[in-house]
Symmetry: C2
Subunit: 346 residues, 2 copies
């Protein structure tokens, strides 16, 4: 006989019936959305930028939406973030930026002074990088149909000579390099948003990384196998994506990963794993062991990479598994972020 | 003595203190926003696509946001519109599409079935055009911070051999060609949205125009001086923009502009000037007189241009002025759309 209570209870919705905030997290839910909803229709990308044959050479394209709140935060704002974020996605494919496109999505009633400020920041960041904003678009939606200002930036890049960088090129024996401390961007956003009181101590690491990548490619050429900027989903998700794409395992040393004390304190207070916290100004690289010293020296010669260091090794397997040797000497599995740690982080 | 009523009345806000819906209209308010807010920081574009030197050749870039409501309408949906709209912006610079980028901005709680449908439409439209979607981005914002699905598409294009198309190249003596009937897209959207009952009679003209442009360039080469797809702001705004950019005047014959009867009826009912109504599948061209017959014949050889015709002439001046000979034989000035005729049209 049917239990009437059970019969009256509707079947639970599948996790993919309705979109969740976590589907935009850069973690596992997002990977599922891409696999189950986007990939059946469009080729599923495993990189944040695509290489396209063009005019006898190779063009690199990347597009990225920016919805960060608040729009102005310690160390940056949505305008500079949109420029540096797209420049960095190009750089992660070994490309230097050539041109940027900028699409505004604006809410009716927005204070135009803020639009001035954000646009000035876009322009200043573009000058810093030395890349022109060549075209754009402006859409305005009614009150309540957006939250102030969203930006989408798209970058056209040119492959650096000697670069052969791809998420699939990691190989057992490669050394894992990290360009600098992690956790600052996500902690800075969260601190401002939640009024945690760390605002004075934590500044977003938002910065362009194309110069750092150019130095790395000049030093290591094709021995620089894979690059990733650990944004949404943090270092843990970036390493998991590289391990899965390359069909390798990755072992890191937790003690080797630099975390600023204020970031560590904020993560402790909030119960966050700093390996899942977003960054906007560092990168992780898988580099052939024979070239690691040269590439590391090149990184350290630049301010963005002054604190670069070896954090681990690429191993044959288990394929797709990332582990960390903890501070007490045991090994733990480093998973991708599953749901949403912090929405509207970038 | 100060009038106490006046003293208590705050100074009126300038029109640019707060963003208005009309700032996204494609008309005069939008031109002012670009001039007063964007241009002081970033070079002000006069085209919807930019030509960038690349790898010894020329790359053409265009970016466009899509916020149309409803997302599914007679003749199309936001997915196909986003593909065709960007393909058309590339075509208006004489370029064939090479690759597309797609950025989603999604609202939490969205029915994932709709995301499937929109993505399938993007994929089908990309196949129709024969251009791959090579990279993308997905952002999810909380409930109430967007309205379902917004898309931003960016296209990379390659200049067609012999093309030298630019909004600044119109010259006195040029012939003005229009590829087909106007007003269908805006009227279709409005009819569905407002429940006007024209839904069965009016279908959006949303379609890709790159094949039509290729035929025109093959026939006319550099004698095809300027191209514009009259989207937001309609044919009136497109002609005004071309006249201003080229430093010429444009005279058209109202009777020569084809308007489907149902579109004319809808515009009459709503008090809209059909010259201000948005289109998504036609183009206007300024072509040297000597090449006009050849280019017109090439247009008519294709389904998108089967109803192409001459609608007017380019004259020396007054510079930037567009006039129409009306049905009763008098001349009227055709202004740009000033504010907002219809928000979220594309």
């Amino acid at each position: 006989m049917t239990n009437p209570l059970l019969a009256a209870c509707p079947a639970p919705a599948r996790s993919t019936d309705r979109l969740l905030l976590g589907h935009g997290s850069g973690g596992q839910l997002m990977a599922e959305l891409l696999r189950d909803v986007i990939a059946p229709h469009l080729a599923a990308p495993i990189e944040d930028a695509a290489v396209v044959p063009f005019a006898g050479g190779e063009a690199v394209l990347s597009t990225d939406g920016f919805v960060v709140t608040p729009r102005f935060f310690p160390g940056g704002d949505i305008g500079s973030l949109a420029v540096y974020g797209t420049v960095n996605d190009l750089a992660m494919r070994g490309a230097e930026p050539v041109a940027l496109c900028l699409a505004y999505l604006l809410e009716e009633g927005l204070d135009v002074a803020e639009l001035h400020a954000v646009t000035a920041s876009v322009a200043a960041a573009a000058r810093t990088v030395g890349v022109p904003v060549v075209t754009g678009d402006t859409k305005v939606v009614g009150r309540g149909a957006a939250d102030g200002i969203y930006l989408t930036t798209t970058g056209l890049g040119r492959r650096l000579p000697g670069a052969d960088v791809s998420a699939v090129r990691g190989a057992p024996g490669d050394v894992v390099l990290l360009s600098g401390p992690i956790g600052s961007h996500g902690s800075a956003i969260l601190s401002v948003r939640e009024g945690l009181g760390f605002e004075a101590d934590i500044t977003s690491d938002s910065q362009p990384l194309h110069g750092l990548v150019a130095a790395m490619i000049a030093a290591g050429g094709p021995d620089v196998h894979a690059l990733r900027d650990p944004t949404r989903g943090g270092l843990a998700s970036a390493l998991n994506e590289l391990a899965a794409a390359s069909g390798v395992g990755i072992d890191i040393e937790e003690a080797a990963v630099p975390v600023p004390p204020a970031v560590a304190a904020a993560c402790e207070l909030l119960g966050l794993d700093v390996l899942h916290v977003a960054n906007e100004g560092c990168l992780v690289a898988l580099v052939a062991a024979g070239a690691a010293d040269r590439v590391l020296a090149a990184m350290r010669s630049r301010p963005e990479g002054a604190r670069a260091r070896v954090i681990g090794d690429v191993v044959a397997g288990p394929v797709g598994r990332v582990t960390a040797r903890t501070l007490v000497g045991s090994r733990r599995i480093v998973d991708m972020l599953v749901g949403e740690q912090l929405p509207r982080i970038c």
